[in-house]
């Protein structure tokens, strides 16, 4: 009988555990949509304060335009216009985010009138020198990790996500707290083995045009002692930003009416 009940429970486990992961994946999918895909298009002013271990501060100010193409977890286009620091003022960074293949990236350098294609494809490199990675700003693919729902409180779904290709990333796993109402990720701990070396926190959010929107967030790197706080303002949704804005023409001619 003991053997039978053991086999039964093993079968139960085999049946239930995929369902359990499915649930984790479902929650993560909603979280990615809430975090990166709100509205059909979005425009926002961003202010980054990067502080290193010695307390030295650096500032990045930019305006970002984002357009969803089709599905809520599909391709997107980003247009990022820099205001600060002044040596990068008027530079534009453009990304066509792809799902199955590497993103396409361009950089416009006004001092040379140069439209440069960027070969760098590693999404886990610093975005403009901050503690945020490209991937933190534009989203990590749902299918790149297995997402396991490990706990649930009144307020949060708590997931443990493990990379499917650990050789491509610098973390072993990450634990993520997702707000049950809005599906906005409130806290993420990135582990290197058992050590939490990187920590994300949503500091402020607000309902804008019906979309719950992060207005302030922080990323800390415990190894370097650096942190970045990003604040968003002038967030606007559904401006009908046309697809053509994300092209060479508008790298040269900044579409300020959408800012």
């Amino acid at each position: 009988m003991k053997l039978l009940s053991f086999l039964m429970s093993l079968v139960m486990l085999m049946i239930s555990s995929p369902a359990y992961t499915m649930e984790g994946e479902e929650v993560m999918k909603k979280a990615l949509q809430a975090f990166y895909y709100q509205g059909h298009d979005q425009s926002a002013k961003a202010h980054m304060e990067i502080t290193d271990k010695q307390g030295r501060k650096r500032i990045r100010d930019f305006v970002s335009l984002r357009l969803n193409l089709g599905e809520k977890d599909g391709k997107q286009k980003y247009y990022v216009y820099f205001n600060k620091p002044v040596d990068v003022k008027k530079m534009v960074f453009m990304v066509w985010k792809n799902i199955e293949q590497d993103d396409d990236r361009w950089l416009y350098l006004p001092a040379l009138d140069l439209v440069k294609r960027i070969a760098a494809s590693d999404d886990r490199t610093s975005f403009v020198g901050s503690n945020f990675f490209y991937e933190d700003v534009s989203g990590r693919g749902l299918a790149e990790d297995s997402h396991e729902l490990i706990d649930e409180t009144d307020q949060y779904y708590i997931l443990n996500s493990t990379p499917k290709n650990p050789e491509n990333v610098e973390f072993t796993r990450y634990k993520i707290w997702i707000d049950k109402n809005s599906f906005i990720p409130m806290k993420i701990d990135y582990y290197d083995k058992d050590f939490i070396y990187r920590h994300y926190e949503t500091l402020e959010m607000s309902n804008i045009d019906g979309y719950m929107t992060v207005l302030k967030a922080k990323m800390e790197d415990k190894r370097t002692g650096g942190k970045t706080v990003i604040s968003y303002s002038s967030v606007k949704y559904q401006q009908n930003i046309p697809d053509k804005i994300f092209s060479e023409r508008y790298l040269r001619k900044v579409p300020k009416k959408y800012f």
Binding site: V86, A120, T224, S247
Partner: protein, 429 residues
């Protein structure tokens, strides 16, 4: 006679005032906002060159930039104020970028109809795919700035032109019309010594090159065209140029002055994603002056080809490789036309370039190495630049430019004695 500046100036002003009504001025009463930087840059030669000063560069530069938006028109002005005791020339020469003022940009931008952008006035222009190699980008370059270690933005010299861009579903068109030929700021001996094949000697600031430049407004003009479109993230372009060789490519047999023979270029380029990186190819047929084929004093027609590939090699490290060739179209005529004992170039001048760029310390430290090597001329040019941002406003930079080669008369090797190291500090505001 109207000179080019009065032509452009009147053009800019009349368009500006016709499109800006009095009401617009009331709506835009913000105080002019300026950005820019203050920079000191010094450098020395690492070889002895009796024809030049020991200092390769020594200057203080203030750049001021402002942008004014009126209703339908944006006005851009970028100007540099330069104190440069190495060149030691102070009256402003806006055309050659010498003297205390170097006007980089003074233009207006507007979109009279939805599918059209117009940029009129002094502007910087770039197109094409190469990395520090240019085939269809026949806009003015400042080779002196490039070789003495100014910021790479100064490789581009401004052009006084009207650029009309039109965007359609199937194709986009750029038309750039330059009423008066804008040459490169070419190597003339004043800053960088060069090898003069006519006299078989080096020429420095003691005997700089004089030129006869085509400069009749609307007669000695330039036309540059680009037809381009994207297929997804892959870009295809066709180019046409009608004008003159941008640096001296001929000699006046009587005066010995440099000449700019007529030039027509037909070209094409593609660029896209290849094997996890960016791949590109560009071609251009340079049709020189009709008589050039058998005229030893005039540069041959050439077919130029470029292929390049760039990709990320490791975290914050990118590498690129380019292959470039200049093929003389009438090689036999060229070889036969040369006097005895002349230096005879290869039919195909081939160049390979490599670049490595590494970002470190949260991207505040940038290290870049670029090397041109010609397998046919057996010469090369190595560029190393490293910059570090002490703060958002303050940047220090240092680098070297090293020229080498087997023979003293080839393209890069002739500058061997101008090899230099430099350092700069820049405060941006």
């Amino acid at each position: 006679m109207l000179n080019k500046y009065s032509v452009l100036f009147i053009g800019v002003l009349s368009v500006l005032f016709s499109s800006v009504s009095a009401n617009d001025f009331n709506a835009n009463t913000e105080i002019l906002e300026f950005n820019g930087y203050l920079e000191t840059r010094v450098g020395v030669r690492i070889m002895d060159d009796a024809r030049q000063k020991d200092a390769s560069i020594g200057e203080v530069r203030l750049q001021l930039e402002t942008e004014q938006e009126f209703d339908e028109v944006t006005l851009n002005i970028v100007t540099d104020f330069v104190y440069d005791p190495v060149l030691d020339v102070y009256p402003p020469d806006l055309e050659n970028g010498e003297g205390v003022i170097d006007l980089r940009q003074a233009n207006i931008v507007m979109s009279p109809v939805d599918f059209m952008d117009i940029k009129l006035g002094r502007q910087l222009l770039t197109w094409g795919t190469g990395d520090l190699l240019f085939i269809n980008d026949l806009f003015a370059k400042d080779w002196n700035s490039f070789l003495i270690g100014r910021d790479v933005e100064y490789l581009k010299a401004p052009t006084d032109a009207i650029k009309v861009s039109m965007f359609f579903n199937v194709l986009n068109v750029d038309i750039v019309y330059t009423p008066v030929f804008d040459s490169d700021r070419f190597i003339d001996g004043n800053r960088i010594t060069f090898f003069d094949r006519m006299t078989n000697t080096f020429r420095g600031r003691d005997q700089p090159l004089s030129v006869d430049k085509p400069e009749d407004a609307f007669d000695d003009d330039e036309l540059s065209l680009r037809l381009f479109r994207s297929f997804g993230a892959n870009e295809v372009a066709f180019y046409y140029y009608h004008g003159f060789w941008k640096s001296p490519a001929g000699v006046n047999p009587l005066s010995g002055n440099g000449l700019f023979p007529a030039l027509e270029v037909y070209g094409a380029s593609i660029r896209g994603t290849v094997a996890g990186g960016i791949g590109y190819a560009e071609v251009g047929l340079y049709k020189s002056d009709d008589s050039a084929a058998s005229n030893p004093l005039s540069r041959n027609s050439e077919l130029r080809l470029l292929m390049g590939y760039e990709r990320e090699l490791a975290l914050e490290l990118t590498g690129s490789l380019q292959y470039y060739v200049e093929n003389k179209q009438d090689y036999d005529d060229y070889a036969n036309s040369l006097p005895d004992d002349s230096i005879v170039d290869d039919k195909n001048r081939q160049v390979i370039t490599v670049r490595f760029t590494k970002l470190m310390l949260q991207q505040e430290l940038n290290v870049s190495f670029f090397n041109f090597y010609s397998t046919t001329d057996k010469d090369g040019f190595a560029r190393f630049v490293t910059s570090y941002k002490l703060s958002d406003d303050l940047k220090v930079e240092s680098g070297f430019n090293y020229f080498y080669g087997k023979y003293q008369y080839t393209f890069y090797a002739q500058f061997e004695d101008s090899s230099n190291i430099y350092a700069a500090i820049r405060y941006a505001f």
